[in-house]
Amino acid sequence: MLTDIPPSLLLFAGALITMLLRGRARNVFLVVLPAFTFWHVSQLSFGEGTSIAFLPTFDALEPLRVDKLSKAFGYIFTLNAAVAFLFAFYVKKAFQHVWALIYIGAALGVIFAGDLITLYVYWELMAISSAFVIIARNTLRAKQAAFRYVMVHIFGGLLLLAGIVMTVSSGGSIAFDSFDYADANLGTCLILAGFLVNTAAPLFSAWLSDAYPEASVTGGLILSAYTTKTAVYTLLRGFPGWEPLMVIGCVMAVFGILYALLENDMRRILAYSIINQVGFMVCAAGIGTPMAISGAVAHAFCHIIYKSLLWMSAGAVLYRTGKSRCTELGGLYKTMPWTLLFGGIGALAISAVPLTSGFTSKTIIIAATEHQHLFWTWLVLELASAGVFLHAGIKFPYFVFFNRDRGLRPKEAPKTMLWAMGILSFLCIWLGVQPQMLYDILPYAVDYKAYTASHLVTQMQLLMFSALVFFLFLPMLKRTATISLDSDWFYRKGGPLFYRAMDKSLNGINAKVADLIAVRYTAWLGKFFRNAPAEILGVLLVPYWTAIGLKADDIADRKEKLVLRAKRGAFPVGITACLAVMMLAIVYLVAIA
């Protein structure tokens, strides 16, 4: 039965087929396959599919667990993939696409995994395949960034593995269900830490803003959707109501804004904006009420759409101009009006402007904080909502498409890119006007009315005054050709520092010892064995010669001959025999003593 097949396997098979196809057939196949997988996800019936027996003492593996939560993520993952591959129609090489399919397949694998072992395997596969998506840009910077990226994810994966092993070995099941906050122990905390690394939580966020903007035009687009949202899914599934997540989410929401405001590279602005947006979802997982969980799913769903749209418009600009720094871009509205229009719709949607999908999804999370009377969480999320409009809603389009005309006159984006952006723009507005379709697939029924007069007025106040602040403070927001230090500083500077410290200390000791033993000590030993016999004999014989009445001249003469003989080892047989007897006598005396 087709409905017993996990969706991930369809994409893995597709990755193999992609390698065999050429030219346009391959590009068409890449769009059709995720679209087909989308249909396949819609056909999956709720419940657990075929289970696979695992090691004797463990429960069985469940590679396909379907419920409303996993299905909602399944829909958006496949839908986004189909549109992203339409955008990527211009890509001629298969390498990146093959890895992208494996990556998306692995993300689907995590979503539908019913047990921790299956989840872990897909989790690591995601890390590896996404690193190859970054490498596919084939620049030195991309390769270096991919290396740092995969190191962080291997670290996160090891935390997860350690957590799973501890949980299971202390009598826990391998089934992946929600963990109880009251029973938090080291095992579950390690699992949580492993998931949090992938959400780009504070101190572990730099992999995102470091690596995604180094990927290719299409690579960045595809990466932006899956790793963080898969991690959000695992939090919603495994850690609802874990209160520290509220704090972590709030920190992420503000952190993303501050760094996005400082950033010069347009794709890095969008990368920090992901951290800000995922902060809302992590916070919702921390609240943990049905409304918050549903709000987080709705937000993740809409976020993937408008964030992809923003990455597409930035990608189209990069594709046409080869530039991504705000200090080098500007005035593009003249020749890329469609890219501006679609990017602008994405910018409005991420800012939760009424009639866009952000307004009907993100605000559910904020409403959930109001219902729980979480004042500070609510305040931070409202502030962060205003800040989103600053950095992603206005800053990104303003500096890229308006600001100063820098004489760039690129062509409009290729048709397939425009079609992809058009489809996502339509979805942004459609879900903003008709959100019920989205509300129906959420894990818990939501009784939420986004369009009330009061909500419209307060939201517009918040946004308009944020816009006012942006333009009043524009001189302070002028971009400079700089980067901002992030937590990657610790390993990008710390790594070489550690290397140098190890190099200096260990190799220093090594060199010193080598000098002492190999050079000095051996030379001294050689000299000793060459000269010692003559010296010792000299010490013994000089008093004897003096005693028998030899003159000083004769003594000196004899001593010189003795030294020569000793060096050549050429003593008369009698003397050698005599010395040997003396030696034996000494040995005998020592032995009996």
Partner: protein
Amino acid sequence: MAGQKKEFDWFDRPSSRRLLWRLLWGACVLTVVAELFVHRHPHFGIDGFFGFYAMLGFIGCTAMILLAKGLGKLVKRDENYYNDHTEDDVIPEDIDDGHAD
């Protein structure tokens, strides 16, 4: 070039910029005035004050910009801080070379 269509440059004109500024101020005033006509449901008390969200947007965004500015003093570095700008003149494969479409 003779005969070429005149470029669309509406947003560069000072008159347009003045108009956009007026529209922005107008929109701000409008959203505050509109609050007179709606019935609000405050959850925390403080959010029930008239124009609370306008203040929140204005003060919050100002604070965030100033905070970012301060943070920038601390963390901003030259682009080549990590010595990885060695291939700035290399055009990666994913950039349009003018032939593809």
